[in-house]
């Protein structure tokens, strides 16, 4: 290949690699009420997250209840003002904007919500719901009508959907309306907050196909929040794993599912049931015990240490309790674990050959 071609390719690659949304040291703390007299405690929903979302990609944010992924999603689109840290979109610092300026700037960031029954105003017709972003921007009525019909077609609903009320539709169809509404604002980035969780399995597949299709056609960037790792594997380019308000692992999807570098990710992946076949019927015993802790009482040192199987395996090293690990590990695969490199020796994940976690020795 010619050197100029190579330079061209590099240039295009770095342009494509440009980060669209950046989050630096973002924290969302909520006051938790305690009994009178006791010191006020804080719910550390999001606790110092630094991430960037690359233009054109689908970044998945996964984790269990209490990990802060939904709060992070809302903070990213500035639906809630971060307690600390900054959010930049297209090199504009959103956190520094006044409310008025924010209102003008914000159409490029949109959101799709989890609950198809709560995310549409029950008293508005579909055409008004989908047309609202256009109305706010001052698009005249006829142009609005046409655009709404276009959008409804794009999401797979016919024009006869327009004059109807949300309650006449099923969950899957309502989600489509929600997607059409998000697209009406012509955004560059869409945060999808668990868009499939309330839908039936067969409908989920339809919506996933729709999201992928729309992303390709309109050149969109997605932040996909979900607790369903199986779906995430189908749709994500990169994955960020969250635990108790922080990102504990961040890597390309292909890599993270094959060779995770954080014990929590390993535990999470091993807990997801895989379809058994005759050659591999046993599900690995669970690697973590107990429930995910509450974000009010964050453990000292590494947040995961009370439930960490690796720590047990390594005979409870001191550092897990005394020092909080930060995301590190080079450019592409980051992990917040003191023993990320040791991990490989203790667990191998082999989904393709035998759908189970074969963990080193004792188990």
């Amino acid at each position: 290949m010619h050197s100029s071609d190579r330079r061209e390719q590099q240039h295009r690659k770095s342009a494509r690699q440009r980060s669209l949304l950046e989050v630096k040291n973002l924290s969302m703390l909520f006051p938790a009420r305690r009994r009178l007299g006791q010191a006020r405690a804080w719910v550390r929903a999001v606790d110092g997250v630094t991430l960037s979302v690359i233009s054109g990609e689908t970044l998945a944010v996964v984790g269990e209840s209490g990990c802060g992924k939904t709060t992070l999603g809302r903070a990213m689109v500035m639906l809630a003002r971060p307690t600390a840290g900054e959010v930049s979109f297209d090199n504009i610092e959103l956190t520094k904007l006044s409310l008025g300026a924010l209102r003008a700037a914000r159409r490029q960031l949109q959101m799709i919500f989890q609950d198809p029954y709560g995310s549409l105003d029950p008293r508005q017709r579909v055409e008004d719901i989908v047309g609202e972003p256009l109305l706010i921007r001052g698009v005249p009525r006829r142009a609005r009508r046409e655009r709404v019909a276009e959008l409804l077609g794009l999401v797979g609903l016919g024009p006869d959907a327009a004059p109807r009320l949300p309650r006449e539709f099923s969950g899957g169809q309502r989600q489509r309306v929600g997607i059409a509404r998000a697209l009406a604002a012509e955004p560059k980035l869409i945060v999808c907050d668990e868009p499939l969780s309330a839908l039936d399995v067969s409908i989920q597949a339809q919506i996933v196909a729709l999201l992928k299709d729309v992303q390709q056609r309109l050149v969109l960037t997605y932040v996909f929040i979900s607790h369903d790792l199986a779906v995430v594997r189908q749709i994500a380019d990169r994955v960020a794993v969250m635990y108790l308000g922080t990102v504990v692992e961040l890597a390309d999807a292909a890599v993270i599912f094959q060779a995770p570098r954080h014990p929590y990710t390993v535990a999470l992946l091993s807990a997801v049931p895989k379809l058994a076949t005759r050659s591999s019927t046993s599900q690995a015993p669970p690697l973590v015990q107990g429930d995910p802790p509450s974000p009010i009482d964050v453990p000292r040192g590494c947040r995961f240490h009370p439930r960490c199987w690796l720590r047990e395996r390594l005979n409870n090293p001191e550092i897990c309790v005394s020092a909080e690990p930060f995301l590190s590990g080079g450019d592409k695969h980051l992990s917040a674990c003191h023993f990320a490199t040791e991990l490989v020796r203790h667990a191998t994940l082999d989904f393709d050959a035998s759908a189970s976690l074969s963990a080193g020795d004792s188990r």
Partner: protein, 310 residues
């Protein structure tokens, strides 16, 4: 892709439920009839043979007879005509003052609920302290203030208002009084509804689309607060009617000779020993009307109760 199957018309379900409710509850049907009667009488008041103001001193305090079906009062005026006129007053009071009270309540409730934070706390503490104040006493206070300003010599600024006051026979004063007194419950109801709706995802979606607070209130919060506003109206209307009667009873409601059920009861109480018929008619009228309003209000609340939807 997926075709949309037409589901049975949803707009007719409210009508369907309303009619089935009426069929199930005879008391409700009766109450609706009673209110219809009151409305009819109020509207048809001018058609009655005897005017409510025509005095016939010679035949004062007459018992019900062929000429005067409900008798005559202490100045010889036809009780029936005055009752009908009083019905008119009650109707006007019911509608207008409720509108004023609900409008004030909705504005304050929306403001407080949507703004939240310190403004909400401030407004709600104010509402709470007003709630602690006895309503009738408060109404008397406001009524005196209003009458003081508008009857007799009014300051230049309020002159057109005073004109209207005189023309309405003191009714405007009552409307304003009730409007400024009865908004508390509405404000509370609306505020709690707004608080519940504020975090709905469709409101968030509107914010994301760049909607201003005013837009959200107008397009989303007000329409979705309709059931609550309706419930508030069902509370305010009977309350207003009763309060007006009370004010007129004491003498600071409508100005004489405008008939009101309250003034008629006041006069009737005075001559209870000798001419009981003067009290019975207005007392029954107001009692029946309030009962009917309560029953209908109950039914309306049940109609909108999501728990009873099936």
């Amino acid at each position: 892709m997926s075709a949309i199957e037409a589901s049975p018309s949803v707009r007719s379900t409210i009508i369907w439920r309303a009619t089935s409710l009426i069929r199930q509850r005879p008391a409700l049907a009766l109450s609706i009839l009673c209110l219809a009667l009151v409305a009819l009488v109020a509207l048809g008041a001018p058609l009655l043979p005897y005017g409510p103001f025509k005095q016939d001193i010679l035949h004062r305090n007459g018992v019900p007879s062929a000429f005067h079906w409900l008798g005559t009062d202490e100045l010889g005026r036809d009780v029936g005509a005055r009752l009908a006129m009083g019905a008119r007053v009650s109707l006007i009071v019911a509608i207008s003052s409720s509108l004023i009270a609900v409008a004030i309540g909705v504005m304050i409730g929306m403001l407080s609920g949507y703004l939240g934070g310190f403004a909400d706390t401030l407004i709600m503490r104010f509402v709470d302290s007003m709630y602690a104040f006895p309503e009738t006493l408060f109404a008397i206070l406001i009524a005196s203030l209003v009458k003081g300003q508008l009857s007799g010599q009014a300051p230049a600024l309020l002159e057109p208002l005073a004109e209207a006051y005189r023309w309405s026979g003191g009714l405007l004063g009552v409307l304003l009084t009730l409007g400024f007194t009865c908004w508390l419950t509405t404000a509370r109801l609306v505020r709690s509804q707004v608080l519940a709706l504020k975090n709905s995802e469709y409101i968030l979606a509107s914010q994301l689309a760049g909607a201003s607070g005013w837009f959200i209130v107008k397009k989303h919060l007000l329409p979705n607060a309709q059931p609550v506003i309706l419930v508030a109206i069902t509370f305010v209307v009977p309350n207003a009617i009763l309060l007006e009667a009370g004010l007129s009873f004491i003498g600071i409601g409508v100005d004489p000779p405008t008939p009101s059920w309250g003034t008629m009861i006041a006069a009737g109480v005075q001559s209870l020993q000798s001419y009981p018929h003067l009290l019975i008619a207005p007392a029954l009228a107001i009692g029946a009307t309030l009962l009917a309003l309560n029953v209908v209000g109950d039914a309306l609340r049940d109609l909108y109760d999501p728990a009873l939807r099936r």
